[in-house]
């Protein structure tokens, strides 16, 4: 579904990504992990069109994404749940979700999608008319994910959903994401720093380190690899 080939990106004077390739098949749950500064967010920003690449290609369902302006990519069925949530603080929860459904697909399936979002995150139903800026970190993350779902996407991309959240709440978020994958069959691309949690949920994982893709494979392979364990499962932080 999503095909990234030989992507090289320079961002702020640094080589953020060098010759990165990855593949997300339909219905898969793919994770990209790596430490702080590995280039994970840059990868997402490039896919979504906010940062232009120096070289390489990004294709979604066969279509070359790099030719499209950033705002057009959502209409293809790519939903992006950004790093730091980035909810519309001065809009209400419901209005945030409505903005998520800005695309045609989102509008067509609005009522069904809204019910699903409320089922997954009941708190969003309770706080429908509250300003998004007044929600707690965890609630905002749920809103951001709900907003992504509202566009009835084919691919859901999540950028470090656990960042800044207390571990217990982050665990809940991961559970929900896993639930969405299992029950709705949605294709998911997840970027995370908390390796253990992320790898556990996914079908396939990529390890990004200082802009290079150093390792990839199914969950069991990665967990068995000493390099990953040494780097991440030892003395790591949240």
């Amino acid at each position: 579904m999503l095909e990234v080939r030989n992507l090289s990106v320079a961002y702020g004077g640094l080589r953020a990504l060098t010759d990165v390739s990855l593949h997300v098949g339909e219905g898969q749950f793919v994770t990209v992990v790596g430490p702080n500064g590995a280039g994970k967010s840059t990868l997402f920003k490039t896919i979504c069109g906010v940062v232009p690449p120096a070289q390489g290609s990004v294709a979604f369902q066969g279509q070359d994404l790099l030719r499209l302006p950033a705002a057009a990519r959502a209409h293809l069925g790519i939903a992006h749940v950004p790093e730091g949530r980035q909810v519309f603080r001065t809009l209400t929860v419901l209005e945030n979700l409505e903005m998520g459904a800005y695309t045609k697909a989102g509008q067509a399936q609005w009522h069904r999608t809204l019910d699903r979002i409320h089922a997954l995150f009941p708190i969003l139903h309770e706080r429908a008319h509250q300003l998004a800026g007044t929600l707690s970190g965890g609630e905002q993350q749920m809103l951001a994910i709900g907003r992504g779902l509202a566009s009835a996407p084919k691919l859901l991309m999540l950028d470090e959903p656990s960042m800044g959240l207390a571990p217990a709440i982050a665990d809940t978020i991961f559970e929900r994401v896993s639930q969405i994958h299992r029950e709705d069959g949605l294709t998911i691309l997840l970027v995370e720093q908390r390796v253990a949690e992320a790898l556990e949920l996914s079908d396939h994982g990529y390890v990004l380190e200082t802009g290079h893709m150093v390792l990839d494979g199914p969950y069991e392979t990665l967990l068995a690899d000493d390099r990953v364990r040494r780097s991440y499962l030892g003395l790591t932080d949240a």
Binding site: G37, L165, P167, R230, L233
Partner: protein
């Protein structure tokens, strides 16, 4: 004086002398009185631009109402001459005093505003004055002619003398600007402009410097206005207080080059003759052409070369001569100030510190100490209140409750720059540098802020650079530094102020493995020299290597404190910070992997 001031002053001084003499010579050859008038007006508008540049260019406080001061000068001279018969030779200095007074009156309330609010408020003043004057009936005033003793009243028969006088005023104004630019005044203004908070944290009293800039600016502007009145011999409220007058200063400086010495001169030299001749040639057929041209000039320059002609040309054509770095001192001055502490007493003591935002307890009864010469690591998940804690200690935010003392003296309730003067150096999560200025200037700000006199300040800055290992880069513009070098720069800036305590906020963020280790080495060396450090960080492994003790914050509270190994194994910390699953997963890690550092 700043590093490299000598070279710059010489270079600019010579250029100024040459240009002034050439201009005066050229003016002597012009006999057409209309062209002579234009030649007189160019330096007047140039010096008005120079005055505006001091506040709004160097200082970054964009003012749309400099006509207040220009008009004040003009009207003082006019009224003094009309009602008291006072010669403008005295009237202009009087106008400058009035201008200074106006600056204090206007600045005191208005500096509480920032950004576009400040600009709009400054706009309101000359307009209000304009309306009041019209109400009072001062529609149009002519300066009484004095044919006898004309020179005594600055009413020269030969208009060339007007030009000479105007050039003289410009030279004085430029010298003033040169002195400002090359002294700590200029650097303080630039620091405030870049990032007021960081400047305050480096010890700069931004309010005071902004006010000084406004007063100096107003004095020069008033002089320009006074001379303008003498030249034109007629003043109306609109001609000296109107929007077009304020716009003149803005346009001329912006076009020529904001925050540059020569910008206003270049802008005036190009735009004034252009506008005036357009006005003269086409003014009857196309009234208002001057305004249209100015408007178009501003738009074009903002879209094409937003920094103005001077910078754009210089960046494209000239390579800047980098002054050689100051010599490396043979031995570095002692780092830590003599500890006047009784043995065993902590340097920093925090007790019951609390801060609430709305309903959220951001910091809740936090207590800890930092002993002299130790490195305390403050860790905790995002949003735990670590930066808020620093902001309380630093004076950025007022605390609700609690006590914080440095060597027994209270830190709370003081302004940011005052806390800095007490001996607290601070770095921020996001590095703020002055990209065009060399590294040494970026660092010496910290020394100025601590109140060190010029010579010592430079020494201190050089020593700081040597300590962080950046001495060889002293002349490099900060805009060309890498992320790691910028972080070290911030550290050096804090060190230059000779602090007793360093508060470092995520100094290692965004650094790769090797760079991280380099910075850690620097910090370890500082500790060896006796510096006391409290550092917020996320990178656990680094902190384990460096910190003597940990304090763990979670949701604003202190969760645990003590030796790093103990804290890391504390169950409540693990749960709060690393998650229950991490506990479950790390089933007996092998000794090799546990101790291995990334």
């Amino acid at each position: 004086m700043r590093h490299g001031a000598g070279i710059r002053l010489r270079r600019d001084g010579i250029a100024l002398a040459v240009i002034a003499i050439a201009y005066v010579a050229a003016a002597s050859l012009v006999h057409n009185s209309y062209y002579q008038l234009i030649m007189t007006l160019v330096p007047i508008w140039a010096v008005f631009g120079v005055s505006w540049n001091i506040l709004s260019g160097y200082g970054g406080q964009l003012s749309f109402g400099h006509a207040s001061f220009f008009g004040a000068g003009a009207y003082t001279v006019t009224l003094a001459l009309v009602y008291w018969g006072l010669t403008p030779w005295l009237g202009i200095p009087l106008g400058m005093l009035v201008g200074a007074g106006a600056a204090v009156l206007i600045g005191t309330p208005t500096f509480r505003l920032r950004g576009h609010y400040f600009a709009l408020a400054m706009l309101a003043y000359p307009l209000a004055i304009l309306y009041v004057l019209e109400y009072l009936g001062f529609q149009e005033m002519s300066l009484p002619m004095h044919s006898v003793h004309a020179a005594f009243y600055i009413q020269f028969k030969d208009p060339r003398f007007n030009t000479y006088l105007a050039v003289g005023l410009l030279v004085l104004g430029m010298v003033g600007a040169m002195l400002v630019e090359n002294s700590r005044f200029g650097l303080a203004l630039l620091a405030v402009r870049q990032n007021e908070l960081a400047a305050e944290a480096a010890g700069i009293d931004s309010w005071r410097w902004k006010m000084r800039a406004l007063v100096v600016s107003a004095i020069i502007a008033a002089a320009a206005g006074g001379l303008y009145a003498c030249i034109l011999l007629v003043v109306t409220p609109d001609s000296v207080f109107g929007l077009l007058v304020s716009a003149q200063a803005v346009v001329v400086t912006l076009f020529g080059g904001l925050a540059s010495l020569w910008g206003p001169v270049i802008g005036a030299a190009i735009l004034v003759p252009l506008a005036e001749s357009l006005n003269a040639e086409l003014g009857n057929i196309l009234p208002g052409i001057q305004g249209v041209v100015y408007g178009a000039a501003i738009i074009i320059i903002m879209l094409a070369a937003p920094e103005g002609l001077f910078w754009t040309v210089r960046d494209r054509l000239f390579r800047r001569a980098v002054p050689p770095p100051p010599p490396m001192p043979a031995s570095l001055p002692a780092l830590a100030r003599a500890a006047a502490l009784p043995k065993g007493e902590p340097l920093l003591r925090v007790d019951g510190l609390s801060k609430t935002f709305g309903g959220l307890r951001a910091v809740s009864e936090v207590s800890f100490t930092v002993n002299p010469g130790e490195i305390l690591g403050i860790i905790g998940p995002n949003g735990a209140g670590k930066t808020t804690l620093f902001n309380l200690l630093n004076g950025v935010l007022p605390a609700d409750e609690g006590v914080a003392t440095l060597a027994g003296q209270t830190m709370l309730g003081r302004k940011v720059h005052q806390v800095c003067r007490m001996g607290v150096g601070r770095t921020f999560q996001v590095v703020r540098s002055f990209p065009r200025l060399p590294l040494i200037d970026n660092v010496v700000v910290g020394a100025y802020g601590a109140g060190l006199p010029d010579h010592e300040a430079l020494h201190s800055a050089v020593a700081a650079l040597a300590r962080v290992g950046l001495h060889s880069q002293a002349g490099t513009p900060a805009g060309q530094l890498t992320n790691k070098e910028l972080r070290l720069m911030e550290l050096a800036r804090a060190l230059a102020g000779r602090p007793r305590l360093l508060l470092l906020d995520e100094t290692l963020a965004g650094l790769g493995r090797d760079e991280c280790n380099e910075v850690l080495d620097v910090l370890a060396r500082l500790r060896e020299e006796g510096m006391t450090v409290a550092i917020i960080e996320h990178t656990m492994h680094a902190m384990l290597r460096l910190a003597d003790r940990f304090v763990v914050l979670d949701h604003g509270r202190v969760l645990a404190s003590g030796a790093p190994r103990d804290v890391v194994e504390d169950r409540s910390v693990i749960e709060a910070y690393l998650g229950k699953k991490w506990l479950a997963r790390t089933v007996s890690p092998s000794p090799a992997s546990a101790g291995e550092v990334r």
